[in-house]
Amino acid sequence: MEKPLTQHIKNDNTWLSLKEYEKVGGYEGLRKALKLSPKEVTEIVKDSGLKGRGGAGFSTGTKWSFVPMGDDVPAPKYFIANADEMEPGSFKDRLLLEGNPHQLIEGMIIGAYAIQARYSYVFLRWAYHHAAKAISSAIQEAYEAGYLGQNIIGSEFHLNMSLHTSVGRYICGEETALLNALEGKRANPRTKPPFPVVSGLFGKPTVVNNVETLSNIPHILNKGAEWFKGLSKTDEGGTKLYGASGRVKKPGLWELPLGTSLRELLEVHAGGMQDGYKFKGVLPGGGSTDFLTEEHLDVAMDYASVGKVGSRMGTGTIIVLDDKTCPVAMVRNLEQFFAQESCGWCTPCREGLPWTAKILDAIEKGKGKMKDLDLLAFQTNYMAPGNTFCPLAPGAMEPLQSALKYFRADFEKHIHEHNCPWEQ
């Protein structure tokens, strides 16, 4: 089984230096890309079927193809790596940032070439201090070796790159919010359209891609779109970094063919549940995805298949709910997080999320009423996609609406017994 993203990552908490990276084929993808036209590079990425690994699952090549090209388009253009990994339960980009920073940087240079960007930024969350050191050092090495700066490896292409470390706020992961943060402003999301590919950072065309997405790019250029498609178990190309947290025997992170089943993740790689705990449910791709239960375990973890059973693959890092953990309290924890992280810009999110969290708190404490369940159902519609300014609140409603569906009896028990059955 091929593991292009992680096979060279070392176990000693150090990252691959430029020399080590070059020894295993590093920057060969860039050399190939620079011999092609920008349009040809975009076509290869499009053909590979690579979908955005940040959670939305949009075709990467298609995103690049929306950028205006030619001599009389707005300039400079920007290329940004979204390394603001803050989705609750997600810890996959950390490994790539800390273990193989050059792989990301090479992917960014190739992407920047494809859209003819002049400047690029790594937008990193504050808490990833080790990653900050890895990225800073790798950017410097890349400049010294001529992979960044003027006339990259003898070509006509120029690119500057720098690291921006953020200062908190989940919403910065949303790409237009990220752009505002990079401009030094409050990170409220922007209206779409215009999309960043047309009007992004400082009003110029900008591509924002996730770290895992970009780390795939050098390999796609090096080995081709067909090879990339072949890595996957389904028709969506590539491998995926999957992870598991919660009361499983071996929480961790694994690079596996895209489309590996949820059951295999849980039972084989995560080693099944800890002794004394039973499986009750799972959030398949971070805090803002719908719960799945026992009946869904055989679903293939790819974007289309998880969508078909009513959830989202999201970041592919599963959060496991066990039978000794109260599902109402778990959802309360999630909604308190989303309420805290709402930017406050649009009313449904600013008012609806704290309201939701308060109702859940009342139910968890045994003070809930049956009509509160209708209120919660109302919230899931009130904050449904299309009713809010950005995807934060609709994402927040996903674990709630599915918990109401699969764990309704547990909600009712709290209300009827006037306490939390797990607290007795």
């Binding site: 990994e85 803050m86 989705e87 609750p88 339960g89 997600s90 810890f91 980009d93 950390r94 969350r125 504050w126 808490a127 990833y128 201090h129 080790h130 720098s162 470390t165 953020s166 200062v167 908190g168 706020r169 989940y170 943060a181 990079l182 401009e183 030094g184 402003k185 409050r186 990170a187 400082f202 992870g243 598991a244 947290s245 919660g246 009361r247 929480p251 961790g252 992170l253 959030l283 805090g287 890092t317 959060i319 496991v320 709910l321 066990d322 953990t325 778990m330 924890n333 999630l334 997080f337 805290q340 992280e341 930017c343």
Partner: protein
């Protein structure tokens, strides 16, 4: 009497160096706040005013940015800020027990600073180390797989 400036010449230069790389000075607002906080632990009203002058912004505009970001402190904090993850994976794995124990050991609640000014206790959303939950971060040090037994050792290492 002229009030003493908060920002040193070195800090002002560092901030000017940042905005040189952007089309507008205000783009250095967040970096400026970070530079101030790195040296003073927190960002005072006076520092906000001085940064506003450097970046040709109003103090209110600076403050609207400063108060938006959870890791810019607009109130004094202790020498070490203890940020305990309270997001879902850490919650499943028992971060509430860790929180109670930390509050007891430090004799503070969330948002408070110990009497000796050594520690400020706060929560932080998901630290991205969920396979080693529960976790917290102090300064640049990530502490993972926390148990209440480990806390004395960790806290003592900062004294």
């Amino acid at each position: 009497m002229i009030a003493e400036k908060i920002l040193s010449t070195g800090e002002i230069k560092e901030i000017q160096e940042v905005y040189k790389h952007f089309p507008v000075k205000s783009a250095a607002c967040i970096e400026g706040l970070k530079i101030i906080q790195k040296n003073h632990r927190w960002v005072s009203d006076e520092a906000v005013k001085e940064l506003a002058e450097i970046l040709d912004m109003s103090p209110d505009a600076i403050d609207s940015v400063a108060t938006y970001y959870s890791l810019i402190f607009r109130r004094p904090v202790g020498k070490h800020v203890v940020l305990l993850c309270n997001s879902v994976s850490c919650w499943i794995m028992g971060c509430e027990k860790i929180a109670s124990s930390l509050k007891e050991k430090l004799a503070v609640g969330y948002g408070e600073t110990t009497a000796d000014n050594q520690f400020t206790l706060l929560t932080i959303p998901c630290l991205g180390t969920c396979d080693h939950a529960p976790a917290m971060i102090i300064g640049e040090d990530l502490h993972r797989d926390l148990t209440t037994d480990k806390l004395d050792g960790i806290l003592n290492s900062y004294k």
